[in-house]
Amino acid sequence: MKRLLFSALIACLTLALTAGAVEWHWRSRNYLPGIIDSQDLWAQQRARLTRTGKRPIALIGASRTLYSVDLQVLRERLPAYEPVMLALDANPAMASLRDLAADQDFDGVVICDIDGLGLWRITWELQQAYVAHYHRQWTISRDVHRRMLNVWQQHALISRSDFSLLRSLVRWWNKEAEPFRPHVRLTSMREGFIDYTLTDTSVHRRELEAHLAKYGGKLPGPVPAQWLADLAEVRNWVQAIQQRGGRVIFYATPISGLRRQVEEATYPRPQFWDRLADATGAQTLHADDVPALRDFPLPDESHIDYRDKPRYTALLIDALTARTPL
């Protein structure tokens, strides 16, 4: 037994020295630990949706919801509801909406951030991998693991794969720069925060310009008639949720600058958005129809700095409740 304890002691010391040295090195270079998004983290929130004890508000969509909606403000302003963040960076939400429609236990409110592209059928499956993961892979065991991993990621910088042994070796070999310093962070409830003081906002603009240049200045888009015809399927999903007493609200978030020009050119509102409510039977809200939302400051033309989240969320709730009380 003495031999076992002595070995364990040496092992703990060796581990503390090696892992501690790496942690100390990167912390001294001003990196901070944080939650890393994953299919498990998404599934954990998806599982919570029907077990909140309150009426759930499912926030689905992409980064414009993930990083803009303040969950605490939602809870305070709408105490009968529990918000659940299911939006995913860079992935439109239709697969999630379809999943919620098929879930007989879901009778809450869906706030779905969407634009013309997100409603185009070619993007409908982008969140399906997450939905499938929840239905086929999510287990009690994974839930417990993810809860402990959340704690570990919140406190240990070395939980980030950029600082792994292999990545460090490859970075050294390739003479690469130090790992990316994220200007976004996430909580274990998947609420995102963007700090625009840590990033150059013109980068996003240049990315969009480069993307546009690939298509000769005009992005390809769907034929309006086909786009509308495809929404017949979405109408069934909306009805399924409404028949259980739930609601679906499609929400076009504020955008500005070049991004706005591109959206207006590719998806002219009269041919697309303005026909959405009739085509799907869902409630709609366009940020352009609410001056305070339309003119909201957007550092990169489509997202909100974390300091503005509470005000933005309050405006969004006001706009939603002004149409139909929640």
Partner: protein
């Protein structure tokens, strides 16, 4: 529950604490049974019921076999057991495969039949526990083991959590005495068990998931045209990944059982240092290859006949062994290819007199290298999602691909270096009894070893891939 999850760490620490309490052996067996149910049920509670039902049916059938005095009655009960086990496996694992192939066959005959598609989730470990249970019923039928009259003990044998989901496939003859004689955690058992678990986790988390898997994935993309370098990088990386993933699991299972005072047989013995194909199968997934030998190859007639008859039995065994791994023709091709080489090797041995020069070290080493290359070539079928992808990788390995040479990434270089070190380790430890070697380590050396392994594991955060053999 996976060995490489934080859930398992908490589960196992709690179990070890409870296991040390001064309870009777009966009470501790109940504890192990409940722990095994928690381990499996944490993945899927409904499939836990399937596991219990499957084990209970086999337990009852074994009593029927043992209780029957006439040979025809015994045989009837055995057939029921074999049908039940293979039926269960067939439904969950091969249902869609069978439907799809029947539809294709009928289509070729001009009959248009749409196969019904079932959305069947494969219960984890079903291939392992049905084979374990099946071997018990056959052993009872053969009179090789006494029947187990305690349902609790039998279900514990099948569901014992360290080996439940990915083996080793344990024989009842190995486990029976361990169920009857009270087991305890000992300091030596825990010492070696921790070492084995950490080696297993290092193999899985650091080598398989972190070093090998990302490189292997790049070469087996449907529709891609890999160049020579990418094909070799991916094939070598997958050869490393499949070993470290599976041997890592087995190592964890054996270590975990040792900490509880149980013995599980070795499942891998430096397989990449095998000299010849029969030697490879004595070193790779030993519990499956010995199962196939004893319950399939020998009953088929084994080598008790002409060379052709033996070759047929060998090929059938390897093809079915391939199919055991997955419901796809690529696995059948993998098994058949191994069957072919086993046959060639056997024929060559019979044709060549046993000259002393054949035992010369350089020749043995060269044959070992050739064996490794053929094994790696076969892994392409195992890993590829379809024959078209496998064919492209094979062509690229020979330099006949459509893509010109592309520079090797440093990630691929690291994977190749890691594989070379793994191969060297296999040669150096070819005849080593790992458990015995670990038990002789001085305390400071073991502590340092554990600490470095733990450090590497902690410093390799990643996607947390499932063990490959879970899908089988």
């Amino acid at each position: 529950m996976q060995f490489d999850s934080l859930t398992f760490v908490v589960f196992f620490l709690a179990l070890m604490a409870l296991y040390q309490l001064p309870w009777s052996w009966n009470a501790r067996k109940w504890l192990l049974l409940v722990a095994s149910f928690v381990f499996y049920g944490a993945w899927s509670p409904p499939f836990l019921l399937l596991l219990i039902a499957s084990a209970s049916v086999d337990w009852w059938l074994s009593l029927c076999i043992a209780g029957s005095t006439s040979p025809p009655a015994r045989r009837r009960w055995l057939i029921v057991s074999i049908s039940a086990n293979l039926g269960l496996l067939g439904f969950f694992k091969y249902g869609n495969f069978l439907n799809h192939n029947v539809a294709t066959l009928l289509g070729a005959l001009g009959i248009d039949w749409q196969a019904p598609s079932f959305d069947i989730l494969l219960p984890i470990g079903i291939s392992f526990y049905t084979f374990q249970s099946l071997s018990y019923c056959i052993d009872v039928y053969r009179g090789q083991v006494p029947v187990q009259r305690s349902l609790r003990d039998y279900v514990l044998f099948v569901a014992f959590f360290p080996q439940l989901v990915a083996g080793p496939i344990v024989r009842y003859s190995v486990f029976r005495e361990q169920l009857e004689q009270p087991r305890r955690s000992t300091a030596d058992g825990v010492f070696v068990g921790i070492s084995l678990m950490l080696i297993g986790l290092f193999q899985k988390i650091v080598l398989a998931d972190s070093v090998f898997a990302p490189v292997a994935d790049t070469g087996f993309v449907i529709g891609a045209e890999p160049g020579v370098a990418l094909a070799w990088g991916a094939t070598i990386a997958f050869s490393g990944q499949i070993f470290c993933d599976f041997a890592g699991y087995s190592m964890c299972a054996i270590g975990c059982a040792m900490m509880l005072g149980f013995y599980l047989p070795d499942n891998f013995r430096s397989p990449y240092a095998a000299i010849g194909f029969s030697d490879f199968w004595r070193r790779w997934h030993i519990s499956l290859s010995s199962w196939l030998r004893d319950y399939l190859y020998v009953p088929l007639g084994g080598s008790r006949g002409s060379s052709l008859f033996t070759a047929r039995n060998m090929m059938l065994t390897m093809v079915l062994g391939g199919l055991w791994h997955g419901a796809a023709w690529t696995f059948v091709a993998w098994g058949a290819f191994h069957g072919l080489w086993l046959g060639i090797e056997r024929a060559a041995r019979a044709a060549m007199p046993n000259h002393a020069w054949l035992q010369a070290a350089p020749l043995r080493w060269l044959y070992g290298l050739f064996t490794l290359l053929v094994v790696m070539w076969a892994w392409v079928w195992f890993r590829a999602p379809d024959f078209a992808t496998a064919s492209k990788v094979h062509m690229a390995l020979l330099g006949l691909g459509e893509t010109a040479h592309v520079a090797v990434s440093n990630e691929a270089r690291i994977a190749m270096i890691a594989f070379a070190l793994l191969w060297l380790t296999h040669w150096l430890t070819r005849s080593l009894d790992l458990r015995s070697a670990l038990s002789r380590l001085p305390a400071w050396c073991a502590g340092l070893f554990w600490g470095l392994l733990l450090g590497a594991i902690v410093l390799s955060p990643g996607a947390g891939r499932a063990f490959i053999y879970f899908q089988f």
